[in-house]
Amino acid sequence: MSYRIGVDVGGTNTDAVVIDDADRVIARAKAPTTSDVVSGIRAALAQVLVSDPDEPVVAAMLGTTQCTNAVIERRGLRNVAILRLGAPATTAVQPLADWPADLKAAVAGPVSIVAGGHDYTGRELAPLDAAGVRRAAAEAAEMRMPIAVIGVFSAVNPEHELRAAEICAEVMGDDQSISISSGIGSIGFLERENATVLNAALTDVARVATNSFEVAVRAACGAQACYFTQNDGTLMALAYARRYPSLMLASGPANSMRGAAYLSSMGDGLIVDVGGTSTDVGILVNGFPREAPFVVEVGGARTNFRMPDVVSIPLGGGTIVRVQGGDVSVGPDSVGYRLTQEALAFGGRQATFTDVVLALGMAEFPVPVQRPELPRDVAERAYQIALGLVHRAVERMRPSRDPLPAIAVGGGSVLLPSILDGNVEVLRPSDYAVANAIGAAISEVSGSVDRIVAVDSRNAQAARDEVREEALAEAVAAGADPRSARLVLWEEIPIAYLPGNAVRLRAKAAGRLVRST
């Protein structure tokens, strides 16, 4: 028997859970998130580890918003040297061309565009300009900047990027960060470049986040291994998280979805996460969050990070309800964390979505509150508007007409009815308030492959098998138990206007963490 710890650092709270080998939740706690993050983690861990565990804690998993906040607030970011492999191609559009000025100022460094890269078949555009790579690396080293390396069509053939990374490591030494794009984004050069540059810019944020978590965990329980959750809902080891901090962006929603899936024992379903100011609606496919298609804006920069597909609506427990000239409006603003001071039900003066639901007698609240005095017609109208918002978000995420239940998590999930419009059943698992931390604790290890291949009838099956096998092998190499490793995502996306039926194949495999005891 052994235990694992899951920790989720959110904007307001830091949650922690302890689970056993059978993924049962043994202890749970919430502590306020602190500005140094680590003392909040310590406080939450202290609550779940009140007595010495009778069995060893073998692993600790952290999901954290530190990287997301750093980008949004432009805090702690490094300036990054940018090295493109592709000259003379790509020079028509300079790096970071349409970034917001403040983010650009926080991140931009020297730009080198040298010969190299490949075409869509994987053939060299030009031999790699090793001397040019060396010069760019020397400049980055002299300026003490991390370097981002982006090669044309590295998703088809990463060879030049890998070679350039070796040269950079030789020149810059081990303590400087090198980010290569083939590990970060997919087809779409500018979006992948933006993603890679952000990854490099997060070098210090990731170092602080990983170090402080490791220190806090070691002090609390002596767990042998620390893991970080990625935005696809799977784990990465400490060293990997330091190299790919951008994979922690939006890991919070991914954890909440994975936690909800586990708590409700559902592999497929809609996840409705109701907070104080907003509600996130996501979707689980095979137990994993569905990825957002194409471009995702991060801090105002266009990227092709694989992020969970989430629709956010401005409706939460604290959303303000107003009556003006006979018209009832709901939001978009909220009293947020001041709900327990400002809402009518808590003796405040502001009518909120919580008050509406309580006035209609539609929900039981976990803490005793007074029944708010709201005219019934106002409450009914506001409730109708609010559920309309939820309904639209749910409809947008539903993949087909087939019935799919909604799993409600988050502190405000009690406010939802048991059936949503369109006959969507709402499931409310226990421990819904710490779904994020549970999602982190039960996470699996994954490997993924994203490649463009020319598929004709002769080699189609061989190409598919190869990509599938590689994804499985990567998952096992990352620490997945080979017995539980399986394919969790498979996509074939045709590429327009090219002869030879070029297809982008994407595979992701995942499996449970190998037990180290």
Binding site: G86, A89, T91, A92, V93, A97, F189, L190
Partner: protein, 362 residues
Amino acid sequence: MRRSIGLEELEDIAIGAAVLGTGGGGDPYVGKLWAQQRIIANGPVELVDVDDLADDALVIGVGMMGAPSVIVEKIPSGAELALAFHAVEDACGASADAVLCVEAGGINSTIPFALAADLRLPVVNADGMGRAFPEVQMVSFAAYGLPATPMAVADEHGNVTLLRSVSAEWAERLGRALVVAEGGASVIAQYPIRGRDLKYAAIRETLTLSLEIGSTLRAAGRRSLEVIEALTERLSGVVLFHGKVVGLTRETAGGFVRGAVAIEDLDTRAGGQCEVIFQNENLLATADGVPLASVPDLITILEEESGHPVTTERLRFGMRVFVLGLPCAPLWREAIGLAKAGPRCFGLDLDYVPFEQRLAMR
């Protein structure tokens, strides 16, 4: 009328071009950034009307040829446009007086501005399609019998090939083979045309139309119903269908993405279903099996929430959309236009009927 195109105007043109792109034509984003950088370096570009050109003025069309998915990865060097353009000038033995946009829909709407800024030439406020079409001969100039060649194909390495073909169809076939050999995306300069010919063969004022569509969409922000109303009124179009994507098939065949999207009625929930068939661009919209609109009329899908156009690559299950029918340029409804870009040119077994007539018959 002369008009100056700067950074803001290019934002609008890029959005308008996506509407005229009818689901295909390539994402105008890369072309927009490229042109914006050249405008930052060299200043705004002047837009001139066809009537402002002298009869013997020479204009040359420029754009990209190849796979949109390659263009977004193998970004051009920036030098190849001028190489191709000058090669066609040399072949004509004359300097060009303006840059011509051949395709107002998709990525090729913005690329002429990158070259025009560098060469400090104006861009003609017109194009050869009034929308996006996939092939070199599907152009008004070809419908009027004007030659596509001398045409030059240039790549980022500096390779330049000059073609003289016996027809626009041959220019398409030979050009496509070169593009594939050059890695799937190259730039082309084509249709060197004199002012006197442009005056009857051009589809006029399509760039300012694009600009207007873009500014309408941007100004309306997220109030999509107002967007749809403003847009259909300005373009004499109609909402063919309003619904939710419930089915999507896509496959590659012969280098094209072919497929269909099924959209279920949201307004009535009576089970009405619309299907849009596409081959890179949207080709045919039917409701419960009955044709509503077909190529060469424009079938554009807008996302309900933002009111912004959706390309066939970005369609997905659950998306709420408006399907718009917009009239094509009058030329495409005539015999010479239908011979180049009628439904049968796209393999549809269907006679062309303007969508307004189809709707009136229902």
